[in-house]
């Protein structure tokens, strides 16, 4: 086979992509769980996180590359800053673009269109205000080969991304499974009307769901920007892939989103080895269409209420 030659190398870089997809995919899945709605503007939550972390780190780090513990601290700061930026935009998005429609009981088509509008508004605004060239996040650590597994080199940035993503994914999984907030989310996901009759404050739960999704998406924006820099158009492709990942794993299912993200990352990388890099998106969308046709509920099924 075409991918056997570099198999482990491709799997490793696929896992790196996959962790990013997983973080973004969770935003789609959580919102889908409570609202049965695809948050098309999630790509811009991701972008906002990238920009927020860029501005924070640019002000604090500048051109002097930190070392040792300071590096770790700045990475943590970047994750938090990106998360905060993403959460803020996600919160605003829900208030401005979705809640008025929800109040009016608008058809789903209206939500989708509103989300597309919000997405275009946000990324073009970012382009207008922050310039249309890529901005480099200050170097926080020297990237290079760290160790190898099965002959595949693992780079520093892979390790950083994997650790940060794993910590966040475990926290979210536990929050949804164990806390009062998580119960609220699951209750709304299972049956919003009943939940509201039982005294669950639906509006607040929905806001909080957007905020959690925003935190993860924004942090992913930072991790992505570490490697590629931030630019106003950065959200579109990764978010589309992350959505594919969410559907692949079963939209509305937290662990499904993670599984879908990792799988998509690996399959994409192996697929590229068989074709040209320019066919990558075709591979990803091909997978999406196949999954939707063969198993529309995804690998792990759909329900946030049940599976989480």
């Amino acid at each position: 086979m075409c991918f056997t030659q570099n198999f482990w190398n491709l799997v490793v870089s696929g896992l790196y992509d996959g962790f990013l997809y997983a973080l973004i995919a969770l935003g789609y899945t959580l919102v889908y769980g409570v609202l049965q709605l695809i948050n098309f503007a999630h790509s811009e939550v991701f972008m906002s996180g990238g920009f927020a972390s860029y501005f924070i780190l640019h002000a604090l780090v500048g051109t002097n590359q930190p070392t040792g513990l300071a590096s770790v601290g700045y990475v943590a700061l970047g994750v938090l800053g990106g998360g905060a930026g993403g959460a803020a935009i996600a919160f605003l998005l829900e208030r401005v673009a979705y809640r008025p429609l929800r109040r009016r009981n608008a058809p789903r088509l209206a939500f989708l269109i509103s989300a597309i509008g919000a997405s275009y508004f946000l990324y073009n605004l970012a382009g207008k205000e922050f310039g249309r060239n890529a901005l480099e996040i200050p170097t926080l650590f020297t990237n290079g080969p760290v160790f190898s597994v099965f002959g595949a080199t693992v780079q520093t940035i892979y390790v950083v991304t994997a650790i940060a993503a794993l910590i966040m994914l475990v926290i979210v999984d536990r929050v949804v499974a164990m806390t009062r907030l998580g119960k609220g989310i699951r209750a709304v996901a299972q049956d919003a009307e009943t939940a509201s009759l039982m005294g669950v404050p639906i509006d607040r739960v929905i806001s909080q769901t957007f905020i959690i999704g925003g935190l993860l998406g924004g942090a992913a924006g930072f991790l992505f920007g570490l490697n590629a820099g931030v630019i106003f158009t950065m959200g579109f492709t990764p978010a589309l892939k992350a959505f594919t990942a969410a559907v692949l794993g079963g939209i509305g299912n937290i662990r499904g989103a993670v599984l879908g993200g990792l799988l998509l990352g690996i399959v994409e990388n192996l697929g590229v080895a068989c074709t040209q890099a320019s066919w990558r998106d075709v591979v990803a969308f091909g997978i999406l269409v196949l999954v939707l046709l063969i198993r529309p509920t995804g690998l792990l099924g759909e329900q946030l209420g049940r599976a989480a």
């Binding site: 480099e136 520093t156 590629a228 158009t233 950065m234 492709t237 990388n269 590229v272």
Partner: protein
């Protein structure tokens, strides 16, 4: 039934109102010259909106600068005419550029156009310019096919892809002694042509070429590609152990690929083309990654000549940002037109005379001596190689001298 027919009628009424508005909204017509001096407009056509706006702005301000300097008499001395500058946006798109072209053709004071900037936009607009016999001098459209369409009014001050690609290949095979070369292009119109010419020449010289296409990313220009593609691509290049990787595309994507390659431990030589000849390449890839990269351009070093430093500082003062890709070419294109106008003298100059004049003009600009072949291509274009050393891009010399 009746009602619904009324519903069809209403839009037509509104459309009619819009049409009325259009009539009043004709383009600003030529300004009347009150003095005895005639006034000519030099227009710029290129992307001033959309994802490629920055590239377009790099050129726009250069044209504007050339026009204002000529009016002030600093570049050509006292002129017998006044010049005006007009910028026209085509979004870099082939569907926008015909109407942009029409707006320039309809403006009777426009005597020549710098642009269109993009090859696709040029292909769509040039039939109209040709029919109006309005000269266009492109600072950046490098597609070889443009010179073969029989457009006598088409000129460009850059070498086409067929010149640069073989130059790079010669350098890679003869100077670097590469037997195996990995080539990557960003799937843009510009890079595809370039890489084809490169592959052909390299194979002709006996090298084995592996080619990959990796579309330009959303991080760069108006690409649609995914940044993460470079991880897998770097893995493949690394495992090929090819000693030379040639990238055809723009600096921002090249920087991402270079970073991915070095992070993967690839130690081969990196080569690229004039799309990457930008200080941003070094700043985005990082000095350590960029060091040693060799970049080619059918242009001489900007920072070398003294005239260039005054150009750079004047440009920065006017535009608010530093000179970028194609700024100097746009400046040369404008000055070539102005030189032609000057040569044509004082009498009221016709568009057709400018086309004719450009065919015989010889003008020494910042990047090269501009002299056009019959098909509009620049004559005798030399490809120069540059190298990144200590964070600076320095000139190595013309390829034919380097390979000796």
């Amino acid at each position: 039934m009746k009602r619904s027919i009324a519903r069809i009628g209403a839009p037509v009424a509104v459309a009619a109102l819009a049409l009325t508005a259009m009539g009043g909204a004709g383009l600003a017509s030529a300004s009347t010259s009150h003095a005895s001096q005639p006034t000519y407009t030099i227009a710029y056509e290129g992307p001033l909106s959309g994802g490629n706006a920055q590239l377009g702005l790099n050129m726009k301000f250069a044209v504007q600068l050339a026009v204002s300097q000529a009016n002030a008499g600093t570049t050509f001395g006292k002129l017998a005419f006044k010049l005006k500058f007009l910028a026209a946006d085509d979004g870099g798109s082939a569907t926008q550029s015909p109407s942009t072209a029409q707006s320039l053709i309809g403006n009777k004071s426009v005597i020549a156009v710098v642009g269109p900037a993009f090859s696709g936009a040029t292909k769509a607009a040039e039939p109209l310019f040709h029919a109006a016999n309005l000269a266009t001098v492109s600072p950046s459209a490098t597609n070889p096919a443009l010179a073969t369409q029989g457009w006598s009014n088409f000129f460009r001050v850059v070498a086409d892809d067929n010149a640069q690609g073989p130059g790079d290949a010669t350098y890679a095979v003869k100077k670097l002694g590469a037997k195996k070369i990995y080539t990557v292009d960003d799937a843009s119109s510009y890079a595809v042509g370039l890489v084809q010419a490169f592959d052909q020449k390299a194979q002709q010289l006996g090298a084995t070429v592996t080619h990959q296409e990796a579309p330009g990313t959303t991080q760069c220009q108006a690409g649609t590609g995914n940044v993460q593609q470079y991880g897998a691509l770097a893995t493949q290049i690394q495992s090929s152990h090819d000693p030379v990787t040639f990238y055809a595309g723009y600096y921002c994507d090249f920087a991402l690929l270079a970073k991915a390659l070095r992070a993967d431990g690839y130690s081969g030589q990196l080569l690229s083309d004039d799309g990457s000849l930008d200080p941003h390449y070094v700043s985005e890839a990082g000095t350590s990654v960029a060091s040693g990269t060799v970049i080619s351009c059918a242009c001489t070093n900007l920072t070398k000549a003294k005239a260039d430093t005054t150009f750079s500082s004047k440009f920065k003062k006017l535009a608010g940002f530093a000179v970028g890709t194609y700024s100097a070419e746009a400046y040369d294109a404008s000055n070539t037109i102005i030189a032609t106008l000057k040569k044509l003298g004082t009498a009221s100059i016709k568009r057709s005379a400018v086309v004719k004049g450009l065919h015989s003009i010889v003008y020494t600009g910042l990047t090269k001596t501009v002299h056009f072949q019959k098909n509009g291509n620049i004559a005798g274009s030399t490809v120069y190689e540059y190298k990144v050393e200590n964070g600076n891009i320095v000139e190595l010399g013309p390829v034919n001298q380097l390979v000796g």
